[in-house]
Subunit: 268 residues, 2 copies
Amino acid sequence: MTSHRRTIPRYLQLARLIQERIDTGEFPVGSRLPSEPELCSEFEVNRLTIREAVAELERAAAIEIRRGIGTFVRPPVARVSIAVDPRSQVVDIGSVHASLAGPVDGGNPDFGELITAVRHGSAGAVDEEAARHLGRTVDGLTRVETVVSLGREPWGVSSYWMPSALLPGELATPGRTDNVVRALAGSAGIVLEYDWRAFSAIGADIGDADALGVPAGSPLLVREGVSGTPAGEPVLYVRRRIHGERARFVLNFRQPGATGGTAAPDAG
Amino acid sequence: MTSHRRTIPRYLQLARLIQERIDTGEFPVGSRLPSEPELCSEFEVNRLTIREAVAELERAAAIEIRRGIGTFVRPPVARVSIAVDPRSQVVDIGSVHASLAGPVDGGNPDFGELITAVRHGSAGAVDEEAARHLGRTVDGLTRVETVVSLGREPWGVSSYWMPSALLPGELATPGRTDNVVRALAGSAGIVLEYDWRAFSAIGADIGDADALGVPAGSPLLVREGVSGTPAGEPVLYVRRRIHGERARFVLNFRQPGATGGTAAPDAG
DNA sequence: AAGTGGTCTAGACCACTAG
DNA sequence: TAGTGGTCTAGACCACTTT
């Protein structure tokens, strides 16, 4: 009759115990945890068991492991807040550019987009999906892969699909570019507007994990969508995966001049 | 010198190797991978090394491990698409309710929101942030924690903060509720409108992982924001963490009647 | 009962970082 | 050089699922 005991693995118990110590401030933000051997002797378990507990906390982003140095309690993360104007058919000039305070036209030194691959009409499942979103066949599409950097670190990876006929020469080969969206719009001599955008979250697959320098399975924020001409012709499908803890997309529903409301959340 | 060092750990090499076999169809979607002992003897490594490789693929959501049965190649995931009307100050009736096809007023059988905890004016960092968003002090706030289910499975966890004075009796104690937002609005006799909403991605912390039945660090989509009265007074701050692979929020920027454009992406 | 994955131990060697 | 975390082996026992 007694609720039969669920055996909670030792490493999970230890993970929660350590998390508690972090929460109570026994291990303050920025402090170093006891080393693995120290934790082993304190809890009288094998090192591997401690390592599993610590790995759990690292996956939960509670701690940061620095090889050869130690394991530290992570501080709250700073995020790049990106505003999305939800009220109009926003001109698409690239979400990151749109939100950066610094110069956009001349190239913002913090921003970099590096073309890593250009492929024509391949036939993976994602290509099929892109073609479906654009209402075209995969044959006529070109896919451009980029790594987006903010500051020195990789911030996200993007895949763009566009009609091959519209591909600007600037985007035809790997290398640094200023802004894929602007290059496309400029070359085609058109204005791009948002058609739709969607947000979801996935774990990093092995390829994205490599490109972003994060472990496989790390949470990525996915922002995907279609942009098109003002006339409504879809031109670009983009799927960007962003280091989850470094980005936040904000939608403000109130008019700027409206009374009341709260300030848009900024970084933090 | 001959190539000396193996920089890439064996378990990562094995993970990529197995991923390749999945990609090439050697291990088709739905099929069972060889058991751990089988993989051990094929690659001539210890079982733990294989397990690390397999764990990597599981974190990357490429495979699903079923205890006592085997390890299987995962099919593409089905997602619940939730439409966000980006053009107006949308009446907040709860995002999930807004998007469900079935009845909303009478209670949708697929939908369930279970209040798991109610706390007054505690003082964690998240409570402070909530108070800041609402322009109030933590003392006057009540925090309601819920688990949201869609079908039989837990789909997300929500934290709501609201002025204690406005807390409906219906929400004062743990138990099943129909819809927190509606209960609040009904009790306060007001209409709630979106003030702002934001999207980001995080890994599940230990508490959320427990509630959702996922491993710590699993990618979660975070949707947070403030709702308020039409007059602009903020009333509710909500922070929902959703099983990342089960949700997608869609913003349509084009008017429904506009020519061209593409269909809003649906589940899948 | 047999086979699967889950946990844990004991010990070894390696790679990285700091002094 | 000393200390940290990273990888790997060999072996054991357990929990879960199917037959």
